[in-house]
């Protein structure tokens, strides 16, 4: 039930960080009592904008008007007072504290920290069907329950405007449905929701209004009743969608990697991966599709030797490598583009040429015997910077100073060097700009033509369909379907990924 006064008006918001302009000329209007979706690619400036609206960061320019009153938000406390609450993508919960303690923290004055608070939590929980027990430790809660707790936390503080940052990224489909039901309840109770996402299906399903961001600014709005996914996607990337074009098959008969009934269990005996079998031939790209958290990371870590499978065998070429550790596998020619380049791919404070050595410590040109070959490593780094178009002032620049796309190009260049036989690429274009994305796709295609076997994991279904020769869908640690990219649609994949059907 939209009322005359808008819940939030953002006008001309701008925010600069050292070296980057995160937001400029951002205009967003959230009507009262609606779900407003804010969409855009990773790095489009959505997160910065939300942090500004929640008082975590202060804008350099522009105005924020909440329910008709212009406000200056210097801290989250002031945002809360103004009626704005936020649910972060990475939950802001203390595992070692109870639901009650997490809930009342910072809002102790409202209902105390004892039975008064307990009663209020139960009231909210019952009203919106959150099913929360105040005295349970948060570490005992599952992901969906934690998210409900986060939303309840916001409501407990009397927020009328609720920001949700990519709330569905961690949820399975049923949980997404339950969340959307909760959002409808919130709307009915007169709250406004700012829903941040890059998943267009979900946005079209839940939003009343859509605002699109690109390169730090708002580039348009859309009406979910009439807009199509394609139109939204083009707004997001700003041009014709660069979609990787499938090329002629280069698949050979030589099997490069094979997994036979690989099972991995965690310390509590639960299966993370169950009976996975796959083969990748030379010149073949095998794509793995799945909702995040369904075993993709574990699969990669198992193949890379960071985890040793509980059962099953892994062969690289003719060799049984099941019990090999990472270094030996890398020496045998596995290249690895990790999912989280900051944590697993780079030494952020080390210069580029030292990052060139990382993962290649035992191989030329980085080393000779037990010695590091500084000259060789430096020369080869210069080559990578040149060939892979890494934009950096020099090879002595620390990796931290590079943009995400350039960091990723350096990693791709590094992992392609030394003639790998198998490349494991985990979300290779996540969080990089469009130019770098196209370049990385080209490099993967070129390598495939040259006979490289590639395991590609991606959340971007178009990328998977465009690059892969075969697509396997993973769900809860099992393969649930094999697809031929030439005649599969993202919808088919989506439905298999969520357990809708197995092909």
């Amino acid at each position: 039930m939209p009322s005359a006064v808008d819940a939030v008006q953002l006008r001309g918001i701008g925010k600069r960080f050292p070296g980057v302009i995160a937001n400029h000329d951002v205009d967003v209007t959230i009507r009262s009592g609606t779900v407003h979706a804010l969409i855009g690619e990773n790095g489009a400036g959505k997160s910065t904008l939300m942090k500004i609206l929640y008082g975590v960061q202060r804008p350099d320019e522009g105005t924020i008007t909440i329910e008709g009153r212009e406000v200056v938000l210097k801290s989250p406390t002031e945002a809360i007072e103004a009626g704005v609450g936020m649910v972060f993508q990475h939950f802001m919960l203390a595992d070692n504290l109870t639901v009650l303690e997490n809930m009342v923290l910072g809002a102790e004055k409202l209902h105390g920290i004892g039975d008064g608070a307990r009663a209020e939590i139960r009231r909210i929980s019952d009203r919106f069907g959150f099913d929360l027990d105040p005295d349970v430790l948060v570490e005992k809660l599952g992901v969906a329950a934690r998210q409900r707790l986060e939303i309840a936390k916001v409501l407990y503080r009397g927020a009328r405007i609720i920001i949700l940052d990519e709330p569905t990224a961690v949820l399975v489909p049923q949980e997404v449905d339950a969340l959307f039901a909760n959002l409808d309840e919130l709307k009915d109770a007169g709250n406004s929701v700012l829903f941040i996402s890059h998943k267009l299906d979900e946005v079209l399903a839940i939003a009343d209004d859509i605002t699109v961001m690109r390169r730090g600014t708002t580039v348009g709005t859309a009406d979910p009743a009439t807009a199509t996914k394609h139109e939204l996607a083009e707004l997001m990337v700003g041009s014709e969608l660069p979609s990787p074009e499938t090329e002629e098959s280069t698949v050979t008969d030589t099997v490069q990697l094979s997994l036979a009934d690989v099972t991995l269990t965690d310390e509590f005996g639960r299966n993370l991966l169950t009976d996975l079998s796959l083969t990748i031939r030379r010149g073949e790209v095998l794509g793995i599709a799945g909702v995040e958290g369904n075993g993709q990371s574990e699969l990669v870590e198992t193949i890379m030797g960071m985890r040793i499978p509980t059962a099953g065998r892994i062969h690289l070429g003719a060799e049984d490598v099941t019990n090999w550790h990472t270094r030996r596998l890398r020496e045998a020619g596995i290249g690895y583009i990790p999912e989280d380049r900051h944590r697993h791919g780079l030494l952020l404070d080390a210069p580029l040429w030292e990052n060139r050595i990382l993962g290649h410590q035992t191989r030329p040109p980085s080393s000779k015997g037990i010695w590091i070959n500084r000259r060789g490593a430096r020369q080869d780094t210069a080559r990578i910077v040149e060939e892979y178009d890494v934009r950096a002032p020099g090879i002595d620049t620390p990796a931290r100073a590079l943009s995400g796309g350039n960091q990723q190009k350096l990693i791709v260049g590094r992992e392609m060097s030394g003639d790998p036989v198998l490349l494991i690429a985990s979300h290779p274009t996540r969080g990089v700009d469009v130019g770098a994305q196209a370049a990385i796709w080209d490099h993967i295609k070129r390598a495939r033509r040259a006979g490289l076997a590639v395991l590609l994991i991606s959340a971007d279904l178009d990328e998977l369909i465009g690059l892969s020769d075969t697509i396997q869908v993973i769900l809860r640690g099992r393969f649930v379907g094999t697809f031929d990219p030439s005649d599969v649609t993202p919808q088919d994949l989506g439905s298999a990924m969520t357990g809708g059907q197995a092909a």
């Binding site: 790095g43 780079l346 952020l348 080390a350 080393s367 620390p398 931290r400 100073a401």
Partner: protein, 363 residues
């Protein structure tokens, strides 16, 4: 490139410079606050040391430097070996006992004792390494506990096995053939630079080569910078923890050997405690860099030795330099952190200026 290089060097010297100024200020204020004369203090401290003190300073520098390198091996790996104190105490005792027993003679005895010291130091720090790799016990806590255990244990063995002489107990004296003495640069009465201070030189060079020119050194630094990236690059983190912990302990075992074979000749009242903590302080002061630590060790040795002059001529007690040393360490870590934050911002700005327009927005 060269101007960038120069600026980078300038920036890394900035932090220690600020720290030294700060510690001079604090020291002056403290001296003035208790009613003594800072002027007397500084003029005494800055007098050129007498030859005997110069020799002392060099000997102390060597021992502190070895300790600093031992600490730095851990630091570069991201490990905090607070246990140097215990490691070198127990290793010195073991080496003195072994050498005193004279199973071998002459230089062979010395060489064997050096090996004993390194082995004992490595084993003692290895306990902390094993606890960390197998049971996840923080090395900070375990090495603190091991310090106290080592010192008590040595006291026990000394009391039960040592040679009693009046009120004091010590290990058996070295035979004349195993006492190396040293080299007297001035007159004989001014003392000798101990022969085994050469260990400090070797340890320093070894540390530099290991760190910057070997695969092991690269793995060590990579593990210290990012454990997750090190793991993904094929480094076995547990093995690295154990090896670097033991290596640190082995080097710690060498700390007091120059004194043992130079002048002390036994482990007893002449044992100099506290070098382990000084080593940690100097490693922090010198940012774990071979050359930086050398200056740090020299500075600390100078302050400690030269402060003896204070008892003559001033009413300032020599322990004032402990404050100077402590403040210097705290100030250097604080200023380094500030400079680092500033520098990161500077670097990001430089890159984005050079690549203007190349990168878009980021969150």
């Amino acid at each position: 490139m060269t101007s960038e290089r120069l600026r980078s060097i300038g920036l890394s010297l900035l932090a220690p410079a600020i720290a030294i100024v700060l510690s001079i200020l604090v020291t002056t204020v403290v001296i003035a606050a208790v009613g003594s004369s800072p002027g007397d203090f500084w003029s005494t401290m800055f007098e050129v040391p007498k030859p005997r003190l110069r020799v002392d300073i060099l000997n102390q520098t060597a021992m502190i430097y070895i300790a600093a390198v031992a600490a730095a091996i851990g630091f570069r790996m991201g490990l905090f070996n607070i246990g140097l104190e215990g490691q070198y105490t127990i290793a010195s005792f073991a080496a003195a006992s072994f050498a005193g027993a004279a199973y071998l003679s002459g230089l062979a005895n010395v060489a064997a004792a050096i090996i004993v010291a390194m082995a004992v130091g490595a084993l003692w720090s290895g306990i902390a390494g094993v606890l960390k790799t197998t049971r996840g016990v923080s090395e900070v806590i375990s090495t603190i506990m091991l310090n106290s255990i080592a010192i008590t244990l040595v006291g026990y063995f000394l009391n039960t096995r040592g040679v009693k002489e009046g009120n004091t107990v010590h290990t058996k004296n070295l035979e004349a053939g195993s006492t190396l003495g040293g080299f007297a640069p001035f007159e004989d009465r001014d003392g000798e630079i101990w022969a085994l201070t050469i260990i400090a030189v070797l340890v320093g060079i070894g540390f530099w080569v290991l760190l910057n020119h070997t695969r092991f050194g690269f793995d060590l630094r990579a593990s210290g910078q990012s454990e997750s990236a090190a793991l993904a690059s094929g480094i076995n983190p547990k093995r690295m923890i154990l090896i670097s912990m033991m290596l640190s302990g082995a080097v710690a075992g060498l700390i007091w050997l120059p004194a043992l074979f130079g002048g002390a000749r036994n482990y007893g009242t002449s044992f100099q405690a506290g070098l382990g903590f000084l080593g940690i302080a100097v490693a922090l002061l010198g940012r774990n860099r071979p050359l930086g630590m050398l200056f740090g060790a020299l500075l600390f040795a100078f302050l400690s030795v030269k402060s003896n002059d204070l008892t003559f001529g001033t009413d300032v007690s020599p322990s004032i330099v402990q404050i100077t040393q402590g403040v210097a360490v705290l100030a250097v870590v604080v200023t380094y952190e500030v400079v680092r934050r500033w520098r990161t911002r500077l670097e990001q700005r430089t890159v984005s200026r050079e690549l203007a327009g190349a990168n878009g927005a980021t969150s």
